[in-house]
Amino acid sequence: MRKHGLVLMAIILTLSLLSACSSGNKSNSSESSAASGGKGKKELNILMESVPDTEFVKQVVDKYTAETGVKINIEAVNYASMHEKLVPQLLNATSSYDLIVVDNYWVGEFTDAGWMEPLDSFIERDRFDTSVYLKSLFNMVGQVDGTTYMLPFYNYAMSLIYRTDVFMDPELKSKYQAEFGRELTIPETLEEYVNISKFITKEKGSTMYGSVMMGLRPDPISVEWLNYLYSSGGEFFKEDGSPRINDANALKALELYIDNMKNAAPKGAAGFGFDEAFNVFAQGNAASFVTYNWMLNKLQDKEESKVAGLVNVAEVPGGASLNGGWGWAIPKNAEDKEASWQFLKWVESFEIAKERASLGGSPTRKDVLTDSDVLGQFPHYVNVQKIIEKSKMIPIIPQAPQLIEILGRELSEAVSGGKSPQDALDTIAKEVKEFE
């Protein structure tokens, strides 16, 4: 009997070890193909995020291989693991990635550390026209202080996505008119937005929420609230660089945000990540959602959403939404920068950018956004262009990831009642001041 007991114990221990190991063991495909060195590299490795726009790149790269014989390996990983995968690679003598994509809030950190190759000499030599990019995007994921480090890959400026049928509902409209003495329409100020949101939740109960929100730390709550901040006239920093994140505008933004979270959003939205919030909206349980404008294409897809055909995009009430975007960059320690540039030039050319856009990709080039074929397919790009042009970015500073972490923690404290809104904002200002 004793022997059985020991064997059983050994099995348990082994199993628990195994289950612990497998969680940390992700694919390591990147290292296998780094061997081919020197100029004229025949295989390029790219680290990307697993999002639709990456899929659209994957769908067109075969063409590049056919034209040039260069094989493109795209390693698509989850956003959360990208930064920690990239940093050690960029610190090495050589990187196993020939091209990377850079989120706008890493830009300050990456340029500060000197991890990205300036592209100006390539651009000048090949006469690549960068004026085709939307200004607000190129200033965010293109050039920094006059040096071009990136080409804008795709935009994810935020916007208000709303249900056309709910906002046009005559019954709701007349009730709203009776109660508030004004018309129920797409709101132009945040106060009006929160008011309408609460009204819809009150009228429809648990079948339809006025808005679905995402309060999970650190990114979802931060990016969502920044729309409120910018649309309330708030900013991170004053002209002189000192923080103004705890001023009256920011306080108003946070109070409106909390009001909406408590009285309009679904129960538990304070813990929603991006997917959870999206699913509520896609299931038809919410009337509005402050989210990335490219979500509209996903929501119009009958296979992914129950609300296809009933949604549209508008600017975030108040007018200034959070800009976002990714840029292509060549790591400073890439093995064959010429080969990387050749691919970059190709994938960002008008034809390929247009092809990616027609697959559903989110454009960064003006000529693609206004192309008649693309507009025919996605008429809402007229709105999207306006949204991008008026949107504001997270400040480009080396500590942007830290900024988001602090922001997320304190906003979540304020929403969950752990701190008063003013205390939370004061803490953010204090910790931001400590950045060197």
């Binding site: 007991g5 199993l15 950190e109 309060g215 923690r409 009642g417």
Partner: protein, 291 residues
């Protein structure tokens, strides 16, 4: 000259010692040195030597201290509940004659799932609006809860999920102990006319002492190190209600890139775990015997 036996001994032991040195000792020493430097992921190498600054900083870091308390609370609750629950199930399983294999298989399943998958599954199940848990509560007329989105409930929710995930470990370990108990003390107890409760209290528990201590110690250590569940379920929120110490250290290393500071915090954590282990091992000393 070495004797043949000695030689054989060396041949067998040296390779494994080498592997251990490279995989265990090297990182330990490396991070220990790192904990006295201003090392950051942004710069290559160790950075400047800063003495005990990182350790002092840790004690002044209100979030570090708070996460320590949160971890302590979490550990005490989950280990206690898992032990009580695990022991009762193990005792019941030890008695049944039929279907043991079937129960075994079912019970072991949660343990085989990686923590990340466990977290993702439960996130779906507990979705306040679309999840099945609130739906079922609604069917029986109870109000659904916000679970992970409610500052008052989030910790309890994480605890429940951890129990679901880790109780099998407790059950199987304790069951292994029960199965290997000798039969004689029980016969003696029966002859002496001991009641069931008396037998449990005076025979089973003392004989099980060592197994129990090992099982509880293992769970205490893994509970203190809990990271993946928090990462997937709450990211420390709402507010900082579920921010446990390992997650806090992770963020210092990978978001704030302060590897020196996070190494120092890891060593403080290691110190606590080692002290706990010593206490537990002391408790377990002395030959176990039926009273």
């Amino acid at each position: 000259m070495l004797s043949v036996k000695r030689k054989q001994f060396l041949i067998f032991i040296v390779p494994s010692l080498l592997v251990l040195a490279v995989t265990v000792l090297y990182p330990l020493v490396y991070s220990f040195i790192m904990s006295f430097t201003s090392s950051s992921l942004k710069v290559r190498g160790f950075g400047d030597f800063v003495g005990l600054d990182n350790y002092i900083k840790a004690f002044k870091d209100a979030y570090f201290i708070k996460s320590g308390w949160t971890t302590g609370l979490f550990t005490v609750i989950v280990v206690t509940l898992e032990f009580v629950f695990g022991l009762s199930v193990a005792l019941m399983l030890n008695r049944i004659k039929r279907g043991k294999k079937l129960f075994f298989t079912i019970i072991i399943v949660p343990m085989l799932i990686t923590p990340v998958a466990v977290g993702l599954i439960w996130r779906l199940l507990l979705h306040p609006d679309l999840g099945i848990v609130n739906y079922l509560l609604g069917v029986v007329g109870l109000e659904g809860q916000a679970w992970l989105g409610d500052a008052k409930l989030a910790m309890m929710t994480v605890v429940l999920i951890d129990i679901w995930h880790q109780v099998p470990f407790m059950i199987l370990l304790l069951l292994a102990g029960l199965v290997s108990l000798p039969g004689e003390p029980y016969e003696a107890a029966t002859i002496d006319g001991a009641s069931r409760l008396q037998t449990f209290w005076n025979v089973t528990l003392p004989l099980m002492k060592e197994t129990i201590i090992v099982a509880v110690l293992f769970r205490v250590i893994t509970a203190i190190k809990t990271y993946d569940l928090i990462y997937v379920l709450t990211k420390g929120g709402p507010g900082t209600t579920t921010e446990v110490i390992s997650y806090h250290i992770y963020k210092q290393a990978y978001t704030f890139l302060n590897t020196g500071y996070s190494s120092a915090m890891s060593y403080l954590l290691l110190l606590v775990i080692m002290l706990l282990s010593v206490v537990f091992v002391r408790l377990g000393r002395g030959k176990a015997q039926a009273r």
